[in-house]
Assembly symmetry: D2
């Protein structure tokens, strides 16, 4: 019998970095997390223990810090990911493909006397700006996105007209809470359009669509969100959305002689619906 | 030999609730988590399995939902905790002491076209407004606070002049990152002063003090934060602060011929310094 | 412009269940977690809010419990996943493809006086037996595996002969700790060979290979583990392994006049190497 | 107004260590986590930024590693904690009180061909052996324990005869699942009796009592567990137990025409009952 190495990748994950750009009138702050995964000619590393083509993952970590230092200002994560992939591909002929994933946390300046402070910040929650750069020697794609953005609307959402079978107990409703943790990522048509301005525009339109949409289902709202992005951002060629349904269960207060008019809910983490789709242009 | 029940408490933890106040011009939203712990005459429950004085923790959970429903508007967590303790003490003569802890998450309205939306929200991170009400039949105390508030300053912090012994390797520094996750709680001199306005004032002054303080140590900044609160809020009788030192380590780039002028750091979660103190009035 | 729904799936995640088989001489216990994802004819749900073909995820949850009840004894998770996919495909013509993932936690009987107790158990850690059944109306595959199995060897592992570049600082070593959290999954050649006996045999051989292998790299040990499985289990057609390198860093004690002969280490979670491969038959 | 420093402590938390004792016939492995908290004469550090009496928490971390190296074999965590407190109190006259907390993870040898392997291990879950040493210059106490030990019994547990009020919906039951995560700690009458043999004996008796007890409530079982320890271990002067009630909810299958004879349950994490008590000798 013969065994073959059908696929392999290796790299460094969770390379965390805080970068400070020390301007006179202000310090700028960036906190990122970098994951690197390499593919290439690593057959003999696996089969023979021959490490002569293996760039250590520890060196990948060092490279993140050294290349970050080469640009003194804060750099957009898409640009940094492109520089990292260039470095690794240029210096490592054994690589055929590399994936660089970066996520950036949100920090906001502390207000002192109503004015943004020079060098002090608070972290704005779990939401992250993400990017994933995949490159070979012939192509590169950039897929940026948002993760861990928790949103909720208290009305404007229903769910009815669904299939009923012998195991159905869910009542139909025309008014429920809709809560979800947005994970969205979109593919840029070409690398140079991957700007922070676009990212912020997409984020805002996703939020507005969620707020304004009269939802018949998570599926329908997800589609509306994605469709709006594709219709308004010509440089985005496809968008993926993953929306867990963070159910808020209406508490039954009838045993206590009370009517619960969509006021008192139990938020739950599990089980949860999970609705996912990818929309693209025709 | 004789065994005695030196202490006991029981109750329900992690009772989660989302409450919606459905006003015409807007929906208000509140997400809280309630922990209840009861002490009292429960000796025979432990020793004999006699449950005749045991209010089930499931009933405590139901009570949280029922009492929340009794107030149609969003209620401050301190007021809700007081109502809960009143209910349990009034209806349960076997109780001698009760502790109600509530934490409230932060939600902010989604902006649509620059205006706050009627019923759609985003969650603002891990920061929580906390309160702890402890009551017997003769007294009640309210200790409110903040937890999980991550703050960072990129300069204005040093650490030097400390003890050196045979195991010291830490270099002195006059410029380092100072990052911490604030856990603060303060005791109100009397229940009626526990208002949201005070809470917001304390939060703002803690942030401003952190931003403006020229720090020689976490200890000194912690003290300055607490001292400022006691000096500016006459209704607060003591304050406790717990500040983990979330070390951001300066990356050594000298091996790559680079000088790291406090620009590139590795944020770490462990190990971490932990500095805690309680300040009170003389 | 026209938008198309390039891909979509929906279902229920984290459906948790504890099942008890109440035999006279013993109770058997099973704790599982089920994730269900459906694909099919859901275009109008997304585009029109038409739910007439949507089986609610709440019903999927109910179905898990109802179908579990139909088999009174504890059932292997592969068999249960197959029954679930049969049910959903048979009753839902709008489905074209379904994925059922189940993981099972490890529980062991408490020993009382040296004998296994009739109905009392302790949980044996985070390790899980996993399975993933993917089915259309024409095919079905079963990929079972192990997750969260933390293993460590204190010697028999080195890493040298690797590429050195301007960012390399890692020293070569012929003796280091090798710690990893095994995530392995293997594809059965046909559904009927997916037995618990095979699963236990694979688990044992993975552990033995890890223990006995003289490792030149994580890559090489990963390959040896996978190769051994394919060579010894004819019914397995491919195996995927994901091995994070949970680095245990040698503490530098030289500043204290001490030599650290691979005795004192700092275990770290981040950053970590991540080595992944899939091996198949030629 | 005058502010006073009512209490303060500082130290290092989450100092992780893996220690290997390299014997010829086997390697022994220990993974621990150390938390250190110091109290003493630190007023001027807080009020003046005077660090001349401050032993850096970084030095505390180094001291853990250096002192671990001084004992070549694996050391019981109680003995190591005592050595650490001696070191810090002896070398730091400004300290008045120190708390050393250590928890140790469970590792077991991999079996190869039925025999324990020389140097390869698997981690046995989340359960930890804990100890907490508190010392001043005049006294020392050792409180050891267990944390994160998840146990479950499928019968032999009921809950009835409790108070019913207007918010009660819980039905009485004579047969339910009882699941909890044991957190137990016991105070040794004197330091020299804090041995591993005693620890293992306590652990086993806690498990056996849980298994054999016919439970009318968590309170009663908790008491039986504690009472058994005090009656059988003369060197233990008090024991604290914290037992969250990890409710396993019986699934209502009646809507599907099925009777659920305590077979199908949903395990839940929240909300959970929390029952705590401390038992001591008269």
């Amino acid at each position: 019998m013969s065994v073959i190495l059908a696929h392999n990748n290796y790299g460094k994950s969770k390379v965390r970095m805080v970068k400070v750009a020390r301007h006179g009138d202000r310090h700028d702050l960036q906190e990122i997390n970098v994951d690197i995964a390499c593919e290439g000619d690593f057959e003999t590393a696996h089969t023979l223990g021959d490490n002569s083509k293996v760039l250590p993952t520890d060196t990948m970590k060092n490279t993140v810090y050294a290349l970050a230092k080469q640009v003194s200002d804060i750099e957009e994560i898409e640009a940094f990911a492109l520089r990292l992939k260039d470095h690794f591909l240029n210096h490592n002929p054994q690589l055929s493909r590399i994936t660089i994933e970066i996520d950036e946390s949100m920090w906001t300046r502390i207000l002192v006397g109503g004015k943004s402070h020079h060098h002090s910040f608070t972290k704005g929650g779990d939401e992250k700006h993400t990017t994933k750069v995949i490159a070979t020697r012939d192509m590169v794609t950039i897929e940026s996105g948002i993760s861990d953005l928790l949103i909720l609307k208290t009305t404007g959402s229903g769910f009815s007209g669904f299939i009923k079978d012998q195991y159905t107990t869910l009542p139909e409703t025309t008014d429920r809470i809709f809560a979800t943790v947005v994970k969205a990522s979109w593919l840029y048509a070409k690398p140079e359009v991957a700007t922070r301005t676009t990212w912020q525009g997409v984020r805002q339109l996703l939020l507005e669509t969620f707020a304004l949409h009269n939802s018949f289902s998570v599926q329908q709202t997800l589609y509306a969100m994605g469709e709006n992005i594709l219709e308004n951002f010509a440089d985005i060629s496809e968008i993926s959305l993953s929306l867990p349904n963070k159910h808020c269960l209406l508490v039954n207060l009838s045993a206590f002689g009370m009517e619960n008019n969509n006021e008192i809910f139990v938020p739950t983490d599990e089980p949860h619906g999970l609705i996912e789709a990818r929309l693209s242009r025709d």
